[in-house]
């Protein structure tokens, strides 16, 4: 019985088309997921060029293994799991994590006004600019979190996966996920405290 009431999801249709060897099917899959995968990689690695390399690797790996994808999880979950593994490998390959850490300068040093959380009037141009600035600051702050906790934070709090899903992806107990997430959030809060 189809859980969607007989209507196949677009993701399933794309997968079906890919398995049938229809031209352009994989392009459509990439277009559907590339922003999410790329964002995740960029936030994990704090480096857009490296993020693009890893995102390419993720999709190439998916292309090679999509035939064996069992659809136990959604395609996006599967892709993000691949991305997380690749990013962690990259981070471990870096000779010195500390050297690559983005040091968040004091807002007072940069002469910038203190960060303001987004207000209801988000559509205003000044608010859009502020939101962009906030995203940049937040991404830099994420770069300072321990990578093993960072990817849990990204999956849970940014991508919206449940604790159980994150635990399944990470292969660790739910309780461990929760404790690590709590520590990561507290660390992030501490980093953002001067500006938030």
């Amino acid at each position: 019985m189809d859980p969607n009431g007989g209507k196949a999801r677009p993701e399933d249709l794309l997968l079906q088309a890919f398995r049938q060897g229809k031209p352009g099917a994989f392009d459509a899959i990439v277009l559907a997921h590339q922003d999410r995968v790329y964002s995740f990689c960029a936030r994990m690695l704090s480096d857009r060029t490296e993020a693009m390399d890893v995102a390419q690797e993720v999709f190439l790996s998916a292309y090679r293994n999509l035939g064996g994808f069992r659809e136990e999880a959604s395609l996006s979950t599967w892709l993000l799991k691949i991305a997380a593994n690749r990013c962690l490998n990259r981070i471990r390959q870096r000779s010195s994590l500390a050297a690559r850490e983005v040091v968040l300068p004091d807002s007072a040093e940069r002469g910038e006004p203190p960060f303001q959380p987004p207000a209801p009037e988000e559509g205003r141009p000044d608010r859009i600019a502020e939101n962009r600035e906030m995203a940049r600051i937040l991404e830099k702050a994420l770069g300072r979190i321990d990578p093993d906790s960072r990817w849990l934070l990204l999956l849970s709090d940014v991508e919206g996966f449940t604790y159980e899903e994150v635990a399944a992806m990470a292969g660790i107990p739910v309780g461990t996920v929760k404790s690590r997430l709590h520590r990561a959030r507290m660390a992030l809060r501490k980093i953002l405290a001067p500006v938030v």
Binding site: Q34, S39, M52, P117, L138, V158, L192, V196
Partner: protein
């Protein structure tokens, strides 16, 4: 917990801070992937789908280009190696510099002798009586145009191979060439293949014919040999008397020091008649085994 949060300002502030952080994280918009990402993925897929050619294909295909090229390269390599080995071989038996210097000094001495010769030749030519006839003309041509003292047409086809010099493999000095064993008997011209006198083969060096009366013929070889030995030379062959079909002609070979060439011819002229053709200028040229030794082929003809 709710009651505690309402009472504890510190915990409430922490909770609010965490909620704020969560709100910020959840509000993070996804970044737009760069357009190059899709292109890069397409290129990567294209690379993966192109199967890597096996080694033999990469080596030999396309056959019409690679096989001729590889064959040419193999031939070129072979020739290079062959030439390199060929060039190295003489170096191995070449004498050391000291021996080479000796050789070069000998060559220089030869050049000096050569330079001294023309003046002597001119004087001798002036002393000779004017001659006529086809043989004389041929000889004149030899002098005028040909560099070689012996006409090419007279070059003996079966001359013994005489090495110019022998390099000692010990590398110390150049040994003088040993006496070459000359053929014991010259073949008389056969009736079928009768050669002209000009083309008649000689063993080496110059050639002179002496005509003697029949009664003087016996013991002629011994007299010639004795004359040669008196002048510091040596008879190389004392062939038995050969009766040619059309003329009684015997041949003997004499080696002489170059300076004894003229006296030897004078001695011969006392023993018999030397035809004009026997007094060619080239007869007394040092055309022997070396510049110091003249080899004469003396033909004894009975009148």
């Amino acid at each position: 917990m709710h009651a505690h949060l309402q009472d504890c300002l510190r915990c409430r502030a922490a909770k609010e801070g965490l909620e704020e952080t969560l709100m910020l994280l959840r509000g993070l918009p996804p970044a737009d992937a760069p357009p190059e990402l899709l292109d890069g993925i397409r290129r990567g897929i294209a690379r993966e789908e192109t199967p890597a050619a096996p080694l033999w294909k990469r080596l030999f295909l396309p056959a019409h280009i690679k096989i001729p090229l590889e064959a040419a390269a193999a031939v070129l390599l072979f020739l290079l190696v062959y030439n390199a080995q060929k060039e190295e071989a003489p170096k191995i038996i070449a004498p050391p510099p000291s021996a080479r210097m000796e050789a070069s000094s000998t060559a220089e001495a030869g050049k000096k002798m050569e330079a001294a010769e023309p003046a002597e030749k001119k004087a001798r030519k002036a002393a000779l009586p004017p001659q006529s006839g086809p043989r004389r003309e041929a000889a004149s041509q030899d002098h005028a145009g040909l560099q070689s003292p012996q006409p090419a047409s007279q070059a003996p086809p079966a001359l013994p191979a005489v090495p110019a010099q022998l390099a000692s493999t010990a590398g110390e000095k150049i040994e003088p060439p040993p006496a070459v064993a000359l053929p014991q008997k010259m073949e008389p011209p056969s009736a079928a293949g009768k050669l002209s006198r000009v083309a008649r083969p000689v063993a080496s060096g110059g050639e002179v014919t002496i005509q003697v009366a029949g009664e003087n013929r016996p013991g002629m070889e011994e007299r010639i040999a004795a004359a040669a030995m008196r002048l510091g030379g040596s008879p190389q062959a004392m062939p038995e008397r050969t009766v040619a079909p059309e003329a009684e002609t015997d041949t003997m070979i004499v080696h002489l020091p170059a300076e004894s060439a003229k006296p030897f011819l004078a001695e011969l002229s006392k023993m018999g008649t030397l035809p004009a053709e026997g007094l060619h200028g080239w007869n007394d040229l040092p055309a022997g085994l070396s510049r110091e030794v003249v080899a004469y082929t003396v033909r004894i003809r009975v009148r």
